[in-house]
């Protein structure tokens, strides 16, 4: 029963988020601030993780291909597929659920605890539109982050492959071009947009509707990470089933 009520409240929150919009002159500043907080401040960690995970994927693939009949360019092919189809859109989103999701939940949760949300409501401001809508718009630029993850993941794989002596640069480049299906990029971006919506709204829900004090803000951040990750994993399965089969 509680789950049903929470799901209902979540959808009502989304509907309310679009009502009674905040003045555009204020809203645009909020959107730029959220793009800075949520997207720009994540580029460093995303670049770092993607580059090294790309390298590890290449090394693991190379070490598992010990049959001399399998061409070396398959290392590049496997790296490209792993990075574009799963690592960049899905696993990077789970990492972002930890980084961005916790930030959203704790910042909104702290506003709830310190009555700042009540202050907005008393002033006659639609607090959901003021707080959640700019995050939703900011996260529409999330595919930019995922593009960086894709490019750096493949570059990391290339560096590991060439400098680790697992295959030549020519083989790797042949591999990443081999059997390229453009729709797979589209599939990755469709998932990215869906996950961006989840990343903006689920942590906001947990922050906005929390009750209690500072300890509960921490608990809400943890719960938000768990539920955001669970939803991303489940939706990843559903979208893959729908779009690739």
């Amino acid at each position: 029963m509680t789950y049903l009520r929470n799901i209902g409240t979540y959808f009502l929150m989304i509907a309310e988020m679009f009502r009674k919009p905040t003045k555009w002159s204020v809203m645009k500043l909020l959107i730029f601030k959220d793009i800075d907080d949520l997207i720009n401040n994540s580029i460093g960690i995303v670049a770092f993780i993607s580059f090294f995970v790309g390298g590890v994927v290449t090394i693991q693939t190379s070490l598992n291909i010990d049959n001399p009949l399998i061409p070396k360019y398959l290392v590049g092919f496997a790296t490209r597929q792993s990075i574009i189809l799963e690592f960049a859109p899905t696993f990077m989103s789970i990492i972002m659920a930890g980084k961005v999701g916790s930030f959203i939940t704790s910042s909104i949760g702290t506003m709830r605890v310190t009555e700042q949300i009540d202050a907005l409501e008393v002033m006659g401001i639609n607090s959901l539109n003021y707080l959640v809508f700019p995050k939703f718009i900011a996260l529409l630029t999330y595919p930019f982050i995922i593009t960086i993850a894709m490019v750096l993941g493949i570059l990391g794989g290339m560096a590991a492959s060439v400098y680790g002596g697992f295959s030549t640069l020519q083989d790797y480049i042949t591999g990443i071009q081999y059997d390229f299906i453009p729709f797979q990029i589209g599939y990755a971006y469709i998932k990215t947009i869906v996950f961006a919506f989840i990343l903006a709204t689920v942590p906001s829900y947990h922050g906005y509707y929390m009750t209690g004090g500072a300890l509960e803000v921490g608990k809400a951040s943890t719960t938000s990470f768990v539920w955001t990750s669970v939803l991303i994993i489940v939706l990843n399965y559903v979208l893959t089933q729908m779009l690739l089969t």
């Binding site: 204020v26 310190t114 009555e115 700042q116 009540d118 008393v122 006659g124 401001i125």
Partner: protein, 255 residues
């Protein structure tokens, strides 16, 4: 003027407000007092429209809150100023930005006009050199003044204060009380203060509503409170020996 008629509010099986009726007049500092758990905060949040209630009406200069659409309620709330117990200043903005916020949201003023108005109200609450401090860098007294400045910057018709001097030293508390009273008279606002600070009650309580277990047990002014025979309020107000002696002296003096 705010008129409350037969207000009932429950949370599950717990009946918090049991048929409260009263009026809060404009140009006066109206106070809601009572022990912890008596329903003061719930009453104030009902007045602010933050809580929905099961029965009764609240009208603001004749406008019945429950009969308004969501948009009309938001427009009415734009005429309200609120000073929260913890000040509720926006962490991400400095002091002058906090004060300018209601103007940005509800007026078409230019940036320089908003700055002029913010400077005017900050001067009015005697805050002159703290405009660019962040709320975390301001003392409790300063934060309360900023909260008052933010609450009055848009010329509200109704000012609500939840424990405005909690956590402040007695001297600063009196300064804040006097400031609220002066502003109430100056702008002819309907001010409702939720407090259990007896100094404030005696100092500025022009109309006092005493709640006990969700029922309005007594109402009157800070002058009447010395003379009342109502045991509930005398037990509450004169619970300290100091106030008992003050009351005795006052009654001896007027007799």
């Amino acid at each position: 003027m705010i008129e409350v008629k037969n207000l009932h509010k429950s949370f599950g099986d717990s009946h918090i407000l049991k048929g409260i009726s009263t009026t809060f007049e404009e140009g006066k500092t109206n106070m809601i007092i009572g022990q912890s758990g008596s329903g003061k905060t719930v009453f104030l949040k009902c007045l602010l429209g933050l809580f929905e209630f099961e029965e009764g009406t609240i009208s603001y200069d004749g406008e019945v809150f429950a009969g308004l659409t969501e948009d009309e309620k938001r427009n009415l709330r734009a005429k309200m100023g609120m000073v929260f117990q913890g000040s509720a200043l926006f962490d991400s903005m400095n002091i002058v930005q906090n004060v300018m916020f209601p103007l940005q949201m509800f007026t078409k003023m230019s940036k320089s006009e908003m700055e002029d108005r913010a400077n005017f109200v900050l001067n009015r609450v005697n805050l002159k050199d703290a405009h660019y401090k962040m709320p975390s860098e301001a003392s409790g007294g300063m934060q309360k003044r900023v909260a008052i400045a933010r609450a009055i910057v848009n010329n509200p018709k109704y000012l609500f204060c939840d424990e405005p001097n909690s956590g402040l030293d007695p001297k600063t508390a009196i300064v804040i009380d006097n400031l609220i009273q002066e502003i109430t008279i100056e702008y002819n606002m309907t001010t409702v203060i939720n407090s259990h600070d007896m100094n404030s009650v005696m100092e500025i309580g022009e109309k006092i509503v005493f709640l006990k277990n969700g029922i309005k047990e007594w109402e009157g002014s800070n002058r009447n409170i010395f003379k009342t025979e109502n045991e509930s309020i005398t037990d509450f107000v004169y619970s300290s020996n100091l106030f008992k002696r003050v009351r005795k002296m006052y009654l001896e003096e007027i007799n």
